[in-house]
Symmetry: C2
Subunit: 535 residues, 2 copies
């Protein structure tokens, strides 16, 4: 794999000067175009020590405008980083759209070094590479230009390089005993590198192997590759925007048509539902599936819920006190043990998410929890991958964090409203499962709630909100508009549960027509999950 | 001071229910109005343990919408926090405009506890209180509603409270041995509290003392105070916006008039300057001061610079290599010692800030530095105090951070362009000095550079940028517009240096007509400051 990078490629000073003059101006102009573009550039530098990783990064900073470049290198994680999943530190440093991120000794470092030094099994190593591949592929699918440079030196060339650095009084600090120890592991290092590159080299996440011996040659290699890749990506993204615009228009038209169909068939359905409600019976799924909208709606997991479930008022007070006390005790224990908890709340408008959240937090120590609402993203968030804003709010060790709405917006509102394209929300299921797996493997408690109410119950609550003064602000036109798309949301919820209710991170569907019942079920479920995690 | 909070105030359940019904809806509606407002609410809860600090915070979260509330409590700082000045952790948690921040055991905790336990001298304690007062006054001056609740219990009442908590199986965890030890220090605690409150009670940063024995009474006290304060602040801010709009219009008119005057007098001045330039002489300040624009311009510190200073080209290469090598060595040493460095660059457009920055970073290890440009703030930054965006980028221990433009924008561009009101930029000098003092006392190296060029030199460089392809993007209409206000900027720079060049954080004025001279001077100055700090 590395033979082509041991050919002794050189560039003369004259050629270098001639080429570099144009190249500098082309790079700057590419960077200027990039600043208006809707994608970030992620450059990874890895390879043999002494092959010019740091020098390349410095050169990019010198030739391009360093103000729109983020350079990051990683050593030991801080305690705030250690308290989150491993990739948190990389997520927090990702460049926003229009900017360039240079990453040194980043997500490849630990897996490669652990493998070379025999600290990880082959299986672990492969799993780490899978994680990396998933991470990069996800960013690339979102539009990021990902380019990974493997800076290479042959074994003898590395030895020469280390020796010459040692001789230079201004550079000798760069060489430590560790470097010589590593040099002795050269062959194992290269074998590991080859496996790494093969495993993580994708169409949109490609490795570029650069011969590192001649500084002029390697500089031109890196920088012309960078220039061409930015230009290419600009063209592809622009073409894509055209396609997207057309696709969105088409999807919008289709949605309107479907919506009209639903409205037409509504009277009959609503009537049936009303009759069922009057009869005090649970809606029979079979009846619903036979209606005109069966194609879209079908049977959903929500139909399996016993929406008549209630908790008698006289039991509620006592149950709430008990559940809260248990939650308070468990959350103190979790705090002491450094186990963090993330609670995700999704549900229909007016389903009672806010009330459930307040009931569960009311018994907790304010020092220990936080509620974060997710509505429209800020401009800093919009300039990043959609998962970025959730990564940034992950709780520290021992804390409890409540997300009022979450990353599931991608496959709910963004899907239904057409804010995300079909391929975007379709690949989101895998991205989400992967994200949640990282949370769980880090040792976090993750509980996900869908608070469900029937359509009739929602109607009743909307009307009530209109009546009661201090609830009026809660009801917006948006809510009525969302309600009109009830069936679309229903099938989106169904698919969400189907695809993301995993053994490790199951969904809890909460029968929410009776608020008291729902609140107690939520708190008890949280207790159960924390208790299980604490063992 | 606390007698009024030991009266045994009580509220009956009936009264409470009756009042709380309206109060809840009023609080929610105040919070809804607040969300559109241009100020944040900062609530501090301090006081006697057991007097209901945590309960009040929970109640606010329960009665109001917790999604727009940030609750924060502080224990041991994380290592990322320890690596920054003490107040960094509070700055990072400040609520944005339109939201409410609840702060428990926050900036008052350590000073009070250190004082009570005899770990700080009276002098230190007072300095800590001064720091707090300056912090809060600054936020309040920026519009923040600051309200500090001292939750009080008499000595006997506290004892009763601790005992009753101990008896309740659901609450007993709240009481530890430490609480009883603290109770023995009650008198000293109260004396310290009194000094704290007296020292930090301002018109816009007021303390509210609340009797904490009866939960219903204290809840209503806290919540009605909060409701009234939000309402009052809404009215005051609205009135202020009117005044501001008028003041800004007037200031804009005045600036235009002054600008016109400058333009009128320009031909003569430019001609004189041109003659001087031709004669190859340095412009004599005395000549300039006698012109029509003398009123605004006068003599500035910039006139004292020897703008003919040059570094012969043949010396530059060697000097650059030496200075860089020294900087590289010093920055490694600083890294090892955990000493962080913050470099601030200000200067005229085209003065060569970017070039100077790239020359100094080129010799550094990419793992160790970062360049952060400050242009227009993001919406998250706009929702905060103007210093917030600089606090958030303070370097970790051992790192070197370069700020391309900085908080001095407040007294330069924001002043000259009228983005900040007169009282805003005038109080900024003190705020900035206070901010920098915190950096220095934390042990950071802070070097501030004003890169100066003459007006003629700027003209030459603008023209050059127009000619050279890869420099074109650097020149915008904005640059020409700024140039037209040269004299305004000059006097703003003069006042900035006058007021913020302190013994601990002096400005370095750099003669920038000769880029080589400037670059070497910058690097050498940084070396000197790091060397002095490392001792």
């Amino acid at each position: 794999m590395f033979q082509t990078a041991e050919l002794g490629q050189r560039v003369s000073r004259e050629d270098f000067d001639q080429i570099s003059n144009d190249l500098r101006s082309e790079l700057l102009s590419a960077q200027q175009d990039l600043r208006q573009a809707d994608f970030p550039v992620v450059l990874v530098f890895a390879g043999v020590d002494g092959a010019g990783k740091g020098e390349s990064v410095n050169l990019i900073n010198e030739w391009m405008d360093p103000r729109w470049i983020v350079t990051r290198a990683y050593d030991e994680p801080s305690d705030e980083e250690r308290e989150r999943p491993e990739f948190w530190r990389f997520w927090r440093d990702l460049p926003p759209k229009g900017q360039v991120g240079l990453f040194l000794s980043c997500w490849y470092s630990r897996p490669i070094l652990d493998q070379v030094h025999g600290r990880s099994s082959r299986g672990e190593f492969e799993r780490q590479l899978d994680r990396i591949a998933a991470f990069e592929t996800m960013l690339a699918a979102d539009g990021a230009l990902i380019l990974k440079f493997w800076m290479h030196l042959g074994k003898d060339a590395q030895k020469r390089r280390l020796k010459s650095l040692e001789k230079d009084p201004l550079q000798s600090w760069r060489v430590s005993k560790r470097d010589w120890r590593n040099w002795k592991l050269y062959d194992s290092f290269i074998a590991t590198a080859e496996r790494t590159i093969r495993h993580t080299d994708g169409g949109q996440t490609r490795w570029v192997i650069v011969e590192g011996e001649d500084p002029r040659y390697r500089s031109l290699s890196v920088l012309t590759t960078l220039r061409d890749a930015i230009r290419q990506q600009m063209i592809e993204r622009q073409a894509r925007i055209k396609i997207i615009t057309e696709a969105q228009a088409e999807a919008a038209a289709q949605r309107s048509a479907e919506l009209a169909q639903v409205h037409e068939s509504r009277p009959a359905i609503e009537k049936a539902a009303e009759q069922e409600a009057r009869a005090g019976r649970k809606a029979k799924p079979s009846t619903v599936a036979l209606t005109a909208e069966g194609r879209m709606k079908g049977l959903t997991v929500l139909d399996s819920l016993d929406m008549a479930a209630t908790l008698p008022k006289e039991e509620y007070g006592q149950a709430l006190r008990q559940a809260r006390a248990e939650l308070a005790a468990l959350s103190r224990k979790a705090r002491d043990r450094g186990v963090s908890t993330l609670l995700v709340f999704e549900g229909w408008d007016a389903a009672g998410k806010g009330g459930a959240i307040r009931r569960l937090t009311a018994g907790l120590d304010a020092r220990n929890y936080r509620v974060v609402p997710f509505a429209a993203p800020t401009d800093e968030e919009r300039a990043q991958h959609y998962l970025w804003r959730f990564w940034r709010h992950l709780p520290r060790a021992g804390r409890l964090m409540v997300f009022d709405r979450s990353w599931y917006g991608r496959v709910l509102v963004e899907r239904v409203e057409g804010f995300a394209l079909t391929d975007e929300w379709m690949r989101a299921y895998a991205e989400i499962n992967d994200f949640e797996e990282q949370l769980i493997h880090h040792g976090m408690v993750l509980a996900k709630f869908w608070i469900h109410i029937t359509k009739d119950e929602q109607y009743r609550r909307f009307r009530e909100r209109e009546r009661i003064a201090y609830k009026q602000w809660k009801l917006t036109d948006e809510d009525w508009r969302n309600r009109a798309k009830w069936e679309f949301y229903e099938s989106a919820v169904n698919e969400m549960v189907e695809r993301t209710s995993t053994a490790e991170a199951p969904w809890t569907l909460v029968e929410g027509n009776d608020k008291n019942f729902a609140r107690i079920k939520v708190i008890r479920t949280i207790c159960e999950q924390i208790r299980r995690r604490l063992g």
